[in-house]
């Protein structure tokens, strides 16, 4: 069985102008949302306390809100989580109270309603931890980019390394932009997902680059222009690209559907990352390689000239 088989190469490179424009617009939009709306950081980054409680029946959110507000603990957020029985309560850091006291107080207040309520989870994070996490996260992104660029520069050429990283950052910024636009919670697990996308999306670019290099080396491809060679490489790997991403996305979808609230953010980040990963490796990375002026000589070392012996 075969879904995709192209007899002729698709002239991807001739669409370069349009695709670059689309990328630029989405990228700018993402940055715009990141700046204007900002990320909705989870308690792991901001510091504070999050409690998850479960009721036997659907919870009365208004009642929960009045009870929590009655404790005068500052600005709290109360929302359902997954089902209507699960309630998430988010509280800011208080200097005067430890988290242990805080969660106990809230639970006692909730129990006064007479409804049986079970404490499922408490997360408390002090302010200093959050700052460190942001720092570590940024360091990790930096190191990942550097490492990947170095490897690609060694294995291929610097032009490939630069375009792969640009395509990659494009994906990451767009994921972050989506999280900012919809105000989805940005937690550590989501960050792990974003960083995984960084590795995954490069993967995709590498497959195409590999093929480009191979084409340059092929004797039959001598007469083709660089753009044609890239088109051929993308077309040849197209089928694999779609199947691979389809499989990975199947897994991610399973997490989205069955993983519950804990894996929801992670799976969402990956879904966006995978969709844009296909697009960016084909239509962002390759045009940039072309634009940076890659040529056959960059990848294929000229065979050493035989020295004529003078007798």
């Amino acid at each position: 069985m075969e879904i995709l088989h192209f007899k002729k190469d698709i002239p991807f490179m001739s669409y370069g102008r349009i695709t670059t424009a689309i990328s630029l617009v989405t990228f700018i939009l993402a940055v715009f949302f990141l700046i204007t709306r900002g990320l909705n950081y989870s308690v792991e980054f901001t510091g504070g306390t999050v409690m998850e409680v479960q009721y036997q029946q659907a919870a009365d959110l208004a009642d929960v809100r009045t009870r929590v507000d009655g404790l005068k603990l500052g600005e709290s957020t109360i929302q359902t989580l997954g089902s209507s029985r699960d309630v998430m309560i988010r509280l800011p850091n208080l200097k005067s109270k430890s988290s242990a006291q805080l969660s106990n107080e809230v639970l006692t207040a909730l129990k006064q309603s007479g409804q049986p309520v079970e404490l499922r989870r408490v997360d408390f994070v002090g302010p200093q931890v959050g700052e460190e996490l942001v720092q570590h996260g940024l360091t990790a992104v930096g190191i990942v980019c550097l490492g990947i660029m170095l490897y690609l520069a060694l294995r291929f050429e610097w032009r490939f390394a630069v375009s792969a990283i640009i395509a990659n950052m494009h994906d990451v910024v767009i994921i972050l932009g989506c999280f900012a636009l919809f105000r989805w919670e940005f937690s550590l697990t989501v960050l792990a997902g974003v960083l995984a996308v960084l590795g995954y999306s490069v993967n995709e670019s590498v497959v195409v680059f590999d093929r480009i290099r191979e084409n340059f080396r092929k004797a039959g491809m001598r007469n083709h222009t660089v753009a044609e060679i890239i088109d051929n490489a993308i077309t040849a790997t197209m089928s694999r690209t779609i199947i691979t991403h389809g499989s990975t996305e199947t897994m991610v979808l399973a997490m989205l559907l069955f993983g519950g609230p804990a894996l929801h953010g992670f799976a969402t980040a990956l879904t966006i990352g995978i969709l844009f990963g296909i697009y960016s490796s084909v239509l962002v990375a390759s045009p940039i390689v072309l634009w940076l002026g890659v040529s056959r000589e960059n990848l294929v070392k000229p065979p050493k000239q035989k020295q004529e012996a003078v007798v």
Binding site: M1, E2, E44, E52, S98, S99, A100, L119, R120, R121, V122, D123, F124, V125, G126, Q128, V129, L133, H136, G137, T139, A140, V144, G147, I148, Y151, S187, L188, T189, A192, L195, A196, L198, G199, Y200, V202, N203, V206, V207, D210, R211, E214, S239, I243, T244, G246, S247, T250, M251, V252, L253, A254, M255, L257, F258, G259, L263, F266, A267, L270
Partner: protein, 605 residues
């Protein structure tokens, strides 16, 4: 041509057998158990204890499923949680309080697996339920406290040698001794260099001051000792809680992570661990003039006005700032009764503590001494007994207006040791046991459905090669689980997500290979050469793409913390197992299927 040499098949077979053995324990599940261990080396857990436990259970008509005695703990398995609870009560009744008796879940895998050191995967707190704390030790306070103790030591040493001094003050990270003249300065310098070699001395000959400071090395040592002592204290406190497998470890230079899996009563755990108290013994000032001045709001220099809590309410009490003794010198404390039958606390001091205590009591007969619980910025006098006589030998008995419960409380506080420096909880996670179970189920279901969908698709799309891809994907999952069980890495929910993602990404290698084989066939290559060329060409791409992914994974492992690290460990391992299974195992299967035949007309791909 498509044949593996025998040794390659043997490598694959051996890897599979090992993977099977180490994956097996994960299928057996867990049985409820009661774990008996001892917090002290003087109380052994041995065959005699096993006999007592067995007897106690038989008396209650409870039949255990099995008993296991290993290094200093006794584990007794039961059939169901109800029996487990009943058995715990019976054992507690028999053994009393000198043992730690905890409910636990033990892997139900057979003994021969345990003997091969094959255990199920080690589940993180988000999957088992429990409490996680990160505590930060106040390093400045640790140094301050040591300096206070040094200042006390110097005062005593100077007094013993009859060196007259103006005052010993602790300022920042230095101690200043004010002396009268050149002679006393020299004498004091001599005393200090004999007793406290770790301090650097600076003499000020014009104002007759001796300034002592700590070297940077010494400072680091004090700080690391403080963290170590706090860890020991936390161990003692956790023992009071009765947790089966607590984890208490240092994380970074000044942080301590405490994990208590399976703790049901999280409020109590937080209460006991969150206590950030230290214990200090100081002299009480009963001079009426000073007390009334302090009560009027004018506390004299060198004194603190504190609250003393007793059964009749709170009283004010004036104590000197000088610390005579800290909780560090207390070996043991037990509640008991004095000769009149009144409740008492019996304290056992170490040799330094005993010597100091003898000296202090000798000098202060008839005066009161205060035992002060310092809780971050709040201090409270636990008890302030009168010194009736000089007490030597390090055995101290406090008695008087105490109820038996109070005596128990005081003893517990003293016994649990004291912290070298106060700590702040900077991170806390509590996960209820039911949520943990749900997380496992959800993670398992996502992986299972994702895997099934991919396998069905591969089978339809690539037929025989698809079947081979699906089998090698299964092998990948198998080996990943085996590897995780083998190294006992902590599996968390992000870790399960990483397993699922690893499978989703691992199929990439097989897709690359299968597509390549198809392409070679399309270019008119004969089947055998197409297999050969397909694998060969795909290998370069697989290597490149896996190494870039591995770079990302390693960076996560090094710089990530908490959930990110849990994800990264599995992610990295998954990449490695996928390289093995997607290339070596799948090629082995292809070779088995097609390689036997000399001529093949078509490939099912």
């Amino acid at each position: 041509m498509n044949r593996y040499p025998l040794w390659k098949y043997i490598i694959i077979a051996v890897a599979l057998v090992i993977a099977t053995i180490y994956t097996l324990p994960n299928f057996y599940g867990e049985t409820p158990a009661v774990q008996v261990s001892s917090s002290r080396e003087s109380i052994p857990v041995d065959a005699a204890l096993m006999g007592r436990v067995e007897g106690a259970l038989r008396a209650q008509g409870i039949a255990p499923d099995g008993m296991l005695l290993d290094n200093n703990s006794l584990k007794v398995r039961f059939h169901d949680p109800d029996t487990q609870i009943k058995a715990r009560d019976a054992i507690e009744h028999e053994l009393g309080e000198s043992y730690i008796i905890a409910l636990n879940l033990l892997p139900a895998s057979p003994d021969w697996l345990a003997r091969l050191k094959a255990y199920p995967m080690f589940l993180g707190l988000d999957l088992r339920g429990g409490v996680h704390f990160m505590l930060e030790v106040d390093m400045k306070a640790a140094v301050d406290k040591t300096m206070e103790r040094y200042a006390g030591d110097i005062r005593r040493a100077l007094k013993k040698k009859d060196v007259r001094y103006g005052g010993v003050k602790h300022i920042g990270n230095t101690i200043e001794i004010q002396l009268r003249d050149q002679d006393t300065l020299a004498a004091a310098s001599d005393v200090v260099s004999r007793n406290l070699t770790s301090l650097t001395q600076t003499r000020d000959n014009t104002s007759f001051k001796l300034i002592l400071s700590l070297s940077p090395d010494e400072m680091t040592r004090i700080q690391s000792d403080a963290v170590k002592q706090n860890i020991t204290t936390l161990h003692n406190r956790v023992n009071e809680l009765g947790v089966a497998e607590p984890i208490i470890q240092q994380s970074g230079p000044n942080r301590i992570v405490v994990e208590l899996p399976g703790v049901q009563d999280t409020a109590k755990a937080k209460d006991i661990l969150g206590r950030t108290d230290t214990l200090e013994v100081r002299m009480v000032e009963d001079d009426q003039a000073k007390v009334s001045a302090a009560m009027a709001g004018n506390v004299p220099a060198g004194y603190d006005l504190m609250d003393e809590t007793s059964a009749n309410g709170t009283d004010k009490i004036l104590v000197k700032k000088d610390v005579e003794l800290t909780g560090d010198n207390i070996n043991d404390a037990q509640p008991g009764f004095d000769e009149n039958g009144a409740p008492s606390v019996n304290i056992n001091l170490d040799s330094t503590g005993a010597e100091i205590f003898r000296q202090v009591t000798a000098e202060n007969v008839g005066k009161r001494m205060a035992m002060i619980l310092v809780e971050k910025n709040r201090s409270e006098v636990v008890t302030a007994p009168v010194i009736r006589t000089e007490i030597g030998g390090g055995r101290v008995q406090i008695s008087g207006s105490m109820s038996p419960a109070e005596a128990r409380d005081v003893a517990l506080l003293l016994r649990a040791g004291s912290l070298a420096a106060p700590m702040n909880i900077i991170e806390e996670r509590t996960i209820g046991p039911s949520l943990g179970k749900e997380n496992i189920d959800k993670g398992f279901h996502s992986t299972m459905w994702g895997f099934a969908a991919i396998a069905v698709f591969m089978l339809i799309y690539y037929r025989v090669f698809g079947l081979i891809s699906a089998i090698s994907l299964g092998v990948n999952l198998f080996m990943l689980v085996a590897l995780l069980s083998m190294i006992q890495a902590t599996l968390t929910l992000p870790g399960i997500a990483a397993i699922a993602l690893a499978l989703g990404m691992a199929i990439d290698s097989n897709v690359l290979i299968n597509e390549r084989v198809r392409e070679e066939l399309r270019n008119g290559m004969p089947p055998h050469s197409a297999i050969q060329a397909g694998y060969e060409h795909a290998w370069a791409t697989i290597l490149d793409s896996n190494i870039t992914t591995l770079i990302a994974g390693l960076a996560l492992l090094i710089f990530g913390s908490g959930p990110i690290r849990g994800f990264a460990v599995v992610h990295c391992l998954g990449i490695m197992t996928s390289m093995f299974s997607a290339v070596l195992v799948s090629r082995g299967l292809v070779n088995l299927w097609y390689g036997r035949r000399r001529r093949i007309n078509s490939l099912s791909v």
